[in-house]
């Protein structure tokens, strides 16, 4: 179960930020941390495979209200190499 750390940079608009938070929080593969300055959201993803993790990170880029996705760490110790 690969685990990755991401930081989502959220939009300046409070409405878009709230909408992004709602959408991201719905996904059971994602654990949210406390947002910093309301705009920088630490998250941890846990997926069945690395490709799924990548697809998830990529899909987060498309969520309205998410400006950027920075990947901080990826643990692939249990991935078949």
């Amino acid at each position: 179960m690969p685990i990755s750390s991401l930081v989502l940079t959220l939009d300046a608009s409070p409405e878009l930020r709230a909408s992004a938070l709602r959408e991201v929080a719905r996904d059971p593969r994602i654990t949210l941390g406390p947002p910093l300055e309301e705009r920088w959201l630490p998250v941890v993803t846990e997926t069945g495979s690395l490709p799924e993790g990548e697809a998830l990170a990529e899909s987060l880029r498309d969520v309205p209200g998410v400006s950027f996705v920075d990947v901080v760490m990826v643990d692939f110790s249990e991935e078949e190499r």
Binding site: S5, L6, G33, P51, S67, D70, V71, V72, M73, D75
Partner: protein, 806 residues
């Protein structure tokens, strides 16, 4: 807490720290990187710079049971502040491709067959003995600093020849000649801190959003925090970077010289140049006849006259950039209340006028006084992790010696003979062949002047990355007396055509040191064992040197009769380094680095002792010892407030001035047409380059499934209008052809970039689709760097080509 909970907890702490750095910047975000906390659940963490590009991000590498199992951005690293790009966070997987080379292989008939290291080392040594002068080493900006230093000592101190060059010739040689011609000494005065302080960032033919994404995100993050930073893209095609820019200017290939002259013309004519800065710190220069890197001195009035033809209207006519945009650029440079940083990389360097355009952009910053304050800097970026540290600083080039010395100067040769303790006269005064000449001679029959009989390639892939490979590489493979040796980690395009393949250790499978684009020297320790019999590149060089010694080659002895690479152990006895079982009995990197460090003072590129780099996430030279015994790095060279070598009381001092008067040179260089332009037969411009997912020739990144899937193959990017005229859509096959070769590629329209009408772009990462069979080997007259960014091409629908061929 189970393992999963532990990993999730660690991951959340890492994300929170990174978010804190993004929110508050580097200084206010506190905390220890969680990934660096030792011992959690059996994973051992240690620091290393990323293996890939010249940015020099630091990663934390997690190792468990002898394997790299996790990668994290290093929170303590000033370069990347805990963040990584898509390549960086997959870097650990670069070690574990399924086809790692694990044993030496010798070509016999059509096959490569396994042989012992003993036999392999003996073969290399005997190729040297065939004729040491004709034995070349072609190295790399991916060599570590100790590896490059060992290669320099082997060739220049041992063989007494200068047939050593490196692939950085293909990526930053014009930046070097630009720095030398302007300041008299190589490498940027500024650093990445400029990205945090500039008000305006101008990217000259540069696409950092894809090629240096971590640096680019530093600027984008400033915008996210509400800071105003004006981004300007000046390029020949629309890229991912363009989308973030306030101004995106398209120019016709090669006309960047006219644009720079046009801005200088306006600064002079409007009187908005920084007269006080120029009078105190600068002189003027123009090309001489015959052409030399020093050129000839001119007066300000002569400079002004030379610029007069470059009116905005004339420059618009030449370049296609509207006159109003040129005025906008000149107005910005003419302002004293903004800070301007220029960035460039391959767009300005891979250019037949590379030295000239580098000089001109430095000249704009000097003329306008946008220099020497944080955020005011002309800064070239490099593509490879140690193009600066190894190739430029160690000097693994055909004309160079360590520490900024050159073989042509008797004084410099004598200094190196002293440091290497070799007899006087051992070092040769004639430069060896630069990269293109070395490979041309390797591909020329011996009886026709092809006097390079053997090339040993380390850590690079020239069969894919040299230009015009049908001319420079392919013929050698049909010449019986030419012998190609390749040290690599995977069966690259070059390894596959080699006569002898040597399996190498890579990255954290060995100790290492590199130097990034901002003068930052970085260090790491070996963390895992290399697979099979793969061994360090430096060991390979030392083992061949020792075999030569055993075969009676005098050059591998110093003047006291000792082995050139002798290292003594704690017992005072020489360690048999040539026996790999003993190679790590001592830290060979530390010994080589400490010897190299002695060479670095003459150009004020002082380095700290090795243990200082063990403690740090890199230090920017000059690193100067303080009264309290500590070591202080330098962020801004030539600036009185930071550079310890600037005389007290002076704001700016160019202390390596070519005119020995502390002045930098503001150059005039005219626009001239490129050597090959589109015509009726070949009506398109062809530009080549990189993509974010793959690093250079893709030898490592194409073996990382995640990156390979994200960008599985090369393509040709076309403008929609051209595609419509040709009757092709996305995915259709076309044949791209130049005067040197042709290649079938799928079309990509409206992708991440878009070339203007009449232009094509093809990335070079795909070894199955070798675009460098088509590129031009014309090069800059001073740097000898070839131009991969513009040549004439035509493109046809694949079925039409097939019909024509019948």
């Amino acid at each position: 807490m189970d393992r999963r909970d532990f990993l999730k907890g660690t991951a959340m702490t890492a994300a929170t720290l990174a978010a804190s750095r993004l929110a508050y910047g580097q200084d206010k975000a506190a905390g220890t990187p969680p990934a660096a906390a030792p011992g959690g659940q059996g994973v051992q963490w240690d620091k290393a710079p990323c293996r890939f590009c010249g940015t020099g991000c630091h990663v934390q590498v997690g190792v468990q049971n002898g394997k790299v199992v996790a990668i994290a951005g290093d929170q303590q690293a000033p370069v990347n502040k805990g963040l990584l790009c898509v390549k960086g966070y997959h870097v650990g997987l670069a070690l574990y491709g399924s086809d790692r080379l694990t044993t030496p292989l010798l070509k016999k008939g059509d096959k490569h067959v396994p042989i012992s290291w003993e036999e392999a080392i003996d073969i290399v040594a005997r190729r040297v003995l065939k004729d040491p002068k004709g034995f070349g080493i072609y190295g790399s900006g991916q060599w570590t600093i100790p590896e490059g230093y060992a290669a320099s000592k082997f060739v220049k101190g041992g063989l007494g020849s200068n047939q050593l060059d490196a692939n950085a010739r293909l990526c930053m040689a014009s930046a070097v000649t630009g720095f030398l011609a302007t300041y008299g000494v190589d490498e940027p005065a500024g650093c990445y801190d400029d990205l945090d302080a500039c008000d305006v960032l101008i990217m000259w033919g540069n696409n950092p959003a894809e090629m240096h994404p971590v640096l680019f995100s530093r600027v984008i993050d400033r915008r996210s925090r509400g800071e105003k930073v004006t981004l300007i893209d000046i390029g020949t095609r629309k890229t991912r970077t363009s989308g973030f820019c306030d101004h995106s200017l398209r120019f016709k290939p090669n006309t960047d010289l006219a644009i720079a002259c046009g801005i200088a013309h306006l600064l002079v004519e409007n009187g908005t140049y920084d007269k006080a800065f120029v009078e105190a710190n600068c002189a003027f220069r123009a090309p001489s006849e015959p052409a030399t890197l020093e050129g000839k001195a001119i007066t300000f009035e002569e400079y002004r006259e030379l610029l007069k033809p470059y009116t905005p209207e004339k420059v618009e006519e030449i370049s296609g950039v509207p006159a109003k945009d040129l005025r906008m650029l000149a107005d910005l440079f003419g302002r004293r209340d903004v800070r301007i940083t220029s960035l460039w990389c391959m767009g300005m360097n891979q250019h037949t006028r590379g030295t000239a355009i580098n000089n001109l952009v430095h000249g704009l910053h000097l003329l306008s006084g946008h220099f020497g304050k944080p955020g005011d800097a002309p800064t070239s970026l490099t593509g490879q992790p140690s193009a600066c540290g190894t190739v430029r600083e160690v000097g693994t080039l055909a004309h160079a010696l360590p520490g900024g010395r050159v073989v042509a100067k008797a004084e410099h040769r004598a200094q190196m003979e002293e440091i290497w303790n070799v007899p006087k006269g051992r070092l040769h005064d004639k430069p060896g062949y630069h990269t293109l000449e070395m490979w041309k001679r390797f591909s020329t029959p011996t009886e026709q002047g092809g006097d390079i009989h053997t090339i040993w390639v380390q850590v690079t892939n020239p069969a894919q990355t040299l230009p015009n490979t049908h001319k420079l590489v392919d013929p050698s493979r049909k010449l019986a007396d030419k012998f190609l040796i390749v040290s690599d980690v995977y069966p690259s395009a070059t390894a596959r055509i080699a006569d002898l393949i040597l399996p190498s250790a890579m990255w954290v499978e060995k100790n290492g040191m590199t130097g990034n684009s901002e003068r930052r020297t970085q260090q790491w320790f070996k963390m895992v064992r290399p697979p099979g019999q793969a061994r360090d590149d430096a060991w390979q060089l030392i083992a061949v040197a020792h075999r030569l010694l055993a075969l009676g080659f005098e050059g591998m002895k110093d003047k006291d009769g000792r082995f050139l690479f002798e290292v003594k152990g704690k017992d005072g006895k020489p360690v048999p380094l040539w026996d790999f079982a003993h190679y790590y009995d001592v830290n060979v990197d530390e010994h080589l680095f400490e010897e190299y460090r002695k060479t670095t003072r003459i150009k004020h590129k002082d380095l700290a002792p090795y243990p200082e780099y063990v403690k740090a996430r890199g230090l920017r030279w000059p690193v100067v010892q303080q009264p309290d015994g500590g070591w202080r790095e330098t962020r801004f060279r030539f600036a009185g407030f930071d550079d310890p070598y600037v005389k007290k009381g002076r704001d700016i001092q160019f202390y390596h001035s070519t005119t020995h008067d502390d002045r930098a040179q503001i150059w005039f260089s005219p626009y001239e047409p490129p050597p090959e332009s589109p015509d009726t037969e070949f009506p398109f411009w062809l530009c080549t380059g990189r993509v974010i997912e793959h690093w250079h020739s893709g030898t490592m990144t194409m073996r990382i499934p995640q990156l390979q899937r994200a960008m599985p193959q090369a393509y040709v990017e076309m403008n929609r209008a051209d595609a419509r005229r040709l009757g092709v859509g996305n995915g259709d096959q076309v044949t791209v052809e130049t005067r040197r070769g042709k290649l079938d590629l799928p079309v990509w329209i409206g992708g991440r970039g878009e070339p203007p009408e009449g232009s094509l772009f093809v990335p070079f990462f795909d070894e199955r689709l070798l675009i460098n069979g088509l590129t031009l080997d014309e090069h800059d007259p001073f740097s000898k760097q070839p131009d991969y960014k513009k040549c004439a091409a035509r493109v046809r629908r694949r079925e039409l080509v097939a019909e024509k061929q019948g």
